[in-house]
Point group: C2
C-alpha cells in the first residue's frame, strides 16, 4: 500500500505511522511533480498511491498542486485526506470524478470559531466605546445589551458551525441553525431550513455564514436579505466570498443592515487594493486567515491518523464528502 | 412585616411581590431620608424594616445612602439584599455590626464574565494585527496561539469566577482557580490556594482578579508577582483596584509582564486625569463598568424575589455574607 504526503507532515508522525502501518510505502512530495522514497527519486509511473494526505503545511506552495495532480490522475481511486472543509474549488470535482474518496478536515474549526466569537463579542461588549472613552480620558459607564440576550443564526452546521454554537451557548445566547434538513439538536435552540431564513432575519443580532458555496447559497446575502435584516445586526462571513453580494452589502451598511460586517473571505482574493471594503468604517477585513490558529496543524495530524486507522480497517471515514458536494 | 425599596424597583415587581407577601408593609425611598407609604410620608421613627432591598437602580444617588443609613440603625436586625458582590466598603461592616444579614448579588456576573472574555479573546485572537493590516490594505495571514491552547488562572471563585470559568472552558482553555479552600470542582481543571499562586505565574496566559479585597489580597499583584509572571500574559482586574500595585504594574509592563493589562477598577476612582494608565499602550482602561449589561437589573429582581421566598419560609438565603467578609 502506497501513501504520498509532504516531508514535513511525515516528520511529525513518522513513528506513529510506522507503528500503525509498518509496510506502508511512503513517498514524500519534495518538489513540483517530484517524489522521493527515502533519498531516491521515484519515477512518475511508479507514483500510484492508495492514500494522499494534503496536510496544511502543503499550502500555499507547489506541493499542494503536485498532490492534487496526483489525485486527479491516480489509477487506484485512493482516499485523500484534505486540510480544508470547503470543496467549491473545481479541482475537487475533478478529483472526485476520478473516483477518489475525499475526507474533509475539521481541524480548523477551533480557530474559526474563536475568530467568530472574538469579533462578535468584542462588538457586542462595547470595547470600541470603552477605547474611545479611554482615548478621551473620560470616566464614563458603557451600558450594553448582553451577549446573553442576543440571538444568533448560524447558516451551516458542519464542524465549524458546531464549534461556534458550543461557545455562543456558553454565553447564554439564543442559537438557531440553518441547515439542509431539520433535525432537533441539543446543542442549539432551533434548527430550520433555508426557506425559514427570511422570517428570522428581522430578529437576528449575529448571523454567521458557515456553509458551503453552491447553487443554493451563491449570493444568499443579497439585497432582499439585507433589507430584511435587523438594523445593527452583525454579519460574519467565514464561509466563502461568493455567499455575499458585496454591492448589496454596501447598500445595506448605509441603513445599519448590517451594523457591522466581519469578512474573512471575499468574491476576489486577495482582496483588490481598490476595494471599498478595506476602508469602510463598519467593515472588518481579514485575509482568509480565520483558520490560522496554532493548534490546527496538530489536530490535522490527529485526524489523518484516526482516518488512517479507519481506512486500514475498512471502516467508515470521518467527514467523508458526498459526490453531490462537488456537483457530481 | 416591613420592607423598604426604591419606587423603581417596586414598580418592576409589584404584582409578584403582592402575590408572595400580600400583607407586606412596603415603604418606598423617594428622597434623602424620605419614605412614602402609598402617597403618605412616613415619620422616621416608623421606619423599622425587616427587609431592605438595595436594588441596582438606587446607585449612584441619594436613595442608596438612605437605604444604607436605614440598615446601620435598623432596630430589628433585618435582611438586606445588596446589588453588589464586593463588601470592602466600610459601610457594610457597620451594617453587619448592627446585626443585619446581607445577601450579595450575583446578577452582575454575566456582564462581568462577558467583559473578561471579550477583552481576553480579542487580545488572543489577533484582532489588533488584523485591524492594522486592514488599515494598511495589506493581505496577510495572522497566525496565533489559540484560546484553546491557553492557560487561565482565576483568583476568586464566587459567582463571577464561575461565570468566567464556564465560558473559558467552552473554548477549551485550561482553567485553574485560586480560592480559600482546595476542593475539586468539575467546572475547572485545578483548584489551589493563594500559597500556590507564585508557582503558577510563569505558566499563565490569562490571569483574572475576581476576588474580594481584604488583608490577604490587598496589593497581591505586586513587584514579585509581575516579576514571576509569564511574559506576554494578560492581566484582567474586575475585582477591586487595591488588588493591584499600580506602580509595580508599570514596571512589569516594560518587560511584558504582563503584556497587556485590562483594568475596570483602580486604586482611585474615578481614575484621575493625570494617571499614566489612561495613555499606556499596553493598558485598557474602563470606568468600573464591566457590570453594566442590560440583563443585570432583571436578574437582580429575580434574585431578590427568590431570596424573599427563602426569607419568608425561614430557609437559608442565597449568597449570604459571613461576618468575616467584612472583618467581623
Amino acid at each position: 500500500m502506497q501513501a504520498v504526503m509532504t516531508e514535513a507532515a511525515h516528520g511529525r508522525i513518522a513513528g506513529r505511522l510506522a507503528a500503525l502501518a509498518p509496510d506502508l510505502d511512503v513517498l514524500l512530495v519534495t518538489g513540483q511533480n517530484l517524489f522521493l522514497r527515502g533519498e531516491e527519486a521515484v519515477p512518475p509511473e511508479a507514483v500510484d498511491p492508495d492514500i494522499i494526505w494534503c496536510s496544511l503545511d502543503a499550502y500555499p506552495g507547489p506541493y499542494l498542486g503536485t498532490l492534487f495532480r496526483t489525485a486527479v490522475h491516480a489509477p487506484r481511486k485512493p482516499w485523500m485526506q484534505a486540510f480544508n472543509a470547503g470543496l467549491d474549488n473545481p479541482v475537487f470535482k475533478a478529483i472526485m470524478a476520478n473516483g477518489v474518496r475525499i475526507t474533509k478536515s475539521s481541524a480548523q474549526s477551533v480557530p474559526i470559531a474563536e475568530y467568530v466569537l472574538a469579533h462578535a463579542i468584542s462588538l457586542i461588549v462595547p470595547l470600541g466605546p470603552q477605547a474611545e472613552a479611554q482615548a478621551a480620558k473620560t470616566w464614563t459607564r458603557t451600558p450594553y445589551r448582553e451577549v446573553s440576550q442576543s440571538r444568533w443564526t448560524l447558516v451551516g452546521f458542519g464542524p465549524i458551525g458546531r464549534a461556534i454554537a458550543v461557545r455562543a451557548k456558553a454565553f447564554g445566547a439564543h442559537v438557531t441553525v440553518v441547515r439542509r434538513s431539520v433535525k432537533d439538536d441539543p446543542a442549539v435552540d432551533a434548527v430550520v431550513t433555508m426557506a425559514a431564513l427570511p422570517d428570522l432575519l428581522p430578529e437576528i443580532d449575529v448571523i454567521v455564514l458557515a456553509c458551503p458555496l453552491n447553487d443554493e447559497t451563491q449570493g444568499m446575502a443579497n439585497a432582499a436579505f439585507f433589507k430584511a435584516l435587523k438594523p445593527g445586526a452583525i454579519l460574519i462571513n467565514i464561509g466563502r466570498g461568493g455567499l455575499v453580494d458585496e454591492d448589496a452589502l454596501r447598500v445595506g451598511l448605509s441603513t445599519q443592515q448590517p451594523g457591522h460586517a466581519v469578512l474573512d473571505v471575499f468574491q476576489t482574493e486577495p482582496l483588490p487594493d481598490d476595494s471599498w471594503l478595506w476602508s469602510h468604517p463598519q467593515v472588518r477585513v481579514s485575509a482568509h486567515t480565520s483558520n490560522s490558529g496554532g493548534g490546527t496543524l496538530q489536530r490535522g495530524d490527529e485526524l489523518f491518523l484516526a482516518n488512517l486507522k479507519h481506512f486500514l480497517a475498512g471502516e467508515p471515514l470521518i467527514n467523508e464528502a458526498h459526490p453531490s458536494e462537488v456537483g457530481l
